[in-house]
């Protein structure tokens, strides 16, 4: 699966890092690092993290494009 975060929009609320810690990590005080291609096993966690982002900065694609 594929993930990208609009870090211009990200405010460092860290909801994603709590909900899907294998795909989203805080670095230092407020910087977010994300995995661009997390394992499909994390699908539900990642989708939950994307839905929970207060500024909707996370875009996820679960299916490969045609």
């Amino acid at each position: 699966m594929r993930v990208v975060v609009d870090l211009a929009r990200c405010q460092g609320y860290a909801q994603c890092a709590f909900l899907a810690p294998d795909a989203f990590r805080m670095q230092g005080e407020e910087a977010l690092a994300f995995h661009s291609s997390p394992d499909d096993a994390q699908r539900d966690q990642v989708l939950r993290a994307a839905a929970a982002c207060p500024v909707q900065a996370i875009l996820v694609e679960t299916a490969e494009p045609s």
Partner: protein
């Protein structure tokens, strides 16, 4: 056919070609379909792979967390496009409405979008640049190869150039425990983008994390025997290094447009705020659009100056505006007015900016503490707030964005109780932008108004490190 009917026919059956298959190109393609365009859509890209995200290449990929081939961009929707990948566009016939490809094919279009972005500026000495162990970081292949070398635990990495990319790569090295030297021709890191005051804070940050930072020096020579071994500096010193990363900024991919008749030069392709390209004479064209890093767009907040921005969010938003305007009537054009926003993660600090710092004449710390490296500084231009930068204090930037958009007086008052001890503005002190105005650009031919036209002067090559870091 009325213009309304012809727009309708174009939206149904027209041909749109997008040259540049990275972030801006992909997002524009998706937006075109969102807008209801059902015609033929072609994406042309010089890399063989589908569009991928670049910011992780100097961060998560180099740390080893994310594989280099694992940053493909998620799709927002199906786009039903023809992909011409692994082949570069080599020319544009404006009158004949065709894009020429390097393999000789010609691709006709009704409307064209240019999103060819930037590439890494390579080390000017070709023989030295070809030494094994000398890298630039722009493509996923670049990043993947560099990561392998870092995995091998080199004795020392030399990073040439302490702009954002160079600083981030140095940060990764330190995070991985690799000794790193950073050589910067300016007086401090980030000084070209953020000015002297922030530059000196960034220098302290690098040194506190064990970087061997050398400012005010040029790298005069890379020495090696097939592999790079040693680097010589303009101050006479030299160091051993197994890996050299050249981080001298980007070069806009406009060479293929050189003889096209568009206003395309080393600073990008000029366009109006509706993303319509200017031709070389300064006339706005109707069927050629530009978006992303390669676009130079006038911004009303910045005196309608043409801004070139290499920002992720700018590419996304400009692609959306360009796509809308490509398939909409003239009465429904959108202007691209987004406030520039930039971020960088380095040495554990989240650096974020809003606005256009380089236009500033003054800077003042307005919130927080520089010593704790948690603060906001505002940039002023002739008494108005025009930009702000935060170190680990990004949540306040939206406040400063509003100050900029409403032309608030500079220095602004502190919106929180953590008012810094000294808010006195100091000169912004940006280095002379050597490259930006380097050399001749155009010449005028013809005498009567009916025949007067502009042609480009082919500029000479850049000298080593004659650039903004």
């Amino acid at each position: 056919m009325s213009s309304e009917q012809s727009l309708k026919a174009f939206r149904r059956d027209g041909r749109i070609v997008i040259v540049g298959a990275s972030l801006a190109g992909l997002r524009a393609a998706e937006a075109l379909r969102d807008e209801g365009f059902t015609g033929a859509l072609t994406l042309i890209g010089d890399e063989a792979c589908e569009p991928y995200d670049r910011p992780p290449l100097s961060k998560q990929v180099l740390t080893g967390w994310v594989p280099a081939d694992g940053t493909a961009l998620p799709r927002r929707r199906e786009i039903g496009a023809e992909w011409l990948l692994g082949v570069a566009a080599s020319g544009l016939d404006l009158a004949g409405k065709r894009v020429r490809l390097a393999d000789g094919r010609e691709i006709p279009y009704d409307r064209l979008l240019i999103t060819t972005g930037v590439r890494a500026r390579s080390w000017p000495d070709e023989a030295e640049a070809a030494l094994d162990g000398v890298f630039v970081v722009r493509t996923r292949d670049d990043s993947g190869r560099l990561r392998e070398r870092l995995d091998a635990g080199p004795g020392r990495v030399l990073v040439i150039g302490a702009g954002f990319a160079g600083s981030e790569i140095a940060s990764v090295c330190r995070e991985r425990g690799i000794p790193v030297t950073v050589a910067e021709v300016a007086e401090a890191p980030l000084v070209g983008a953020l000015g002297s005051m922030i530059g000196s804070i960034a220098a302290d940050l690098q040194r506190a994390h064990g970087v061997d930072l050398r400012c005010g020096v040029r790298v005069t020579r890379l020495e090696g025997d097939g592999r790079v071994r040693r680097a010589h500096f303009s101050d006479g010193d030299a160091i051993d290094a197994e890996v050299v990363v050249v981080a001298l900024g980007g070069v806009r991919n406009t060479e293929w447009l050189r003889d096209s008749g568009l206003a395309a030069d080393r600073w990008g392709v000029a366009c109006d705020s509706g993303c319509r390209a200017f031709d070389i004479n300064g006339l706005v064209t109707d069927d050629v659009f530009v978006a992303g890093d390669v676009a130079r767009c006038p911004h009303p907040v910045y005196e309608y100056r043409f801004l070139s921005l290499e920002h992720w969010a700018n590419a996304v938003e400009q692609a959306q505006v360009a796509a809308h305007n490509m398939v909409s009537p003239p009465t429904d054009r959108w202007p691209h007015l987004s406030m520039p926003t930039f971020w960088s993660m380095q040495f554990g600090v989240n650096i974020k900016s809003v606005g256009v710092p380089v236009m500033a004449d003054e800077i003042a710390v307005t919130q927080g503490s520089v010593e704790e490296r948690r603060f906001v500084a505002a940039y002023g231009y002739r008494g108005r707030v025009i930009a702000a930068v935060s170190f680990d204090n990004a949540k306040w930037l939206d406040h400063y964005r509003q100050l900029i958009e409403t032309a608030a007086p500079f220095p602004p008052s502190c919106p929180t109780p953590d008012r810094p001890a000294d808010m006195k503005p100091v000169p912004a002190d940006f280095p002379d932008p050597v490259v930006i105005t380097h050399g001749a650009t155009v010449l005028v031919t013809g005498h009567e108004p009916s025949e007067r036209r502009v042609a480009f002067v082919r500029p000479g090559p850049l000298k080593p490190q004659e650039k903004r870091s």
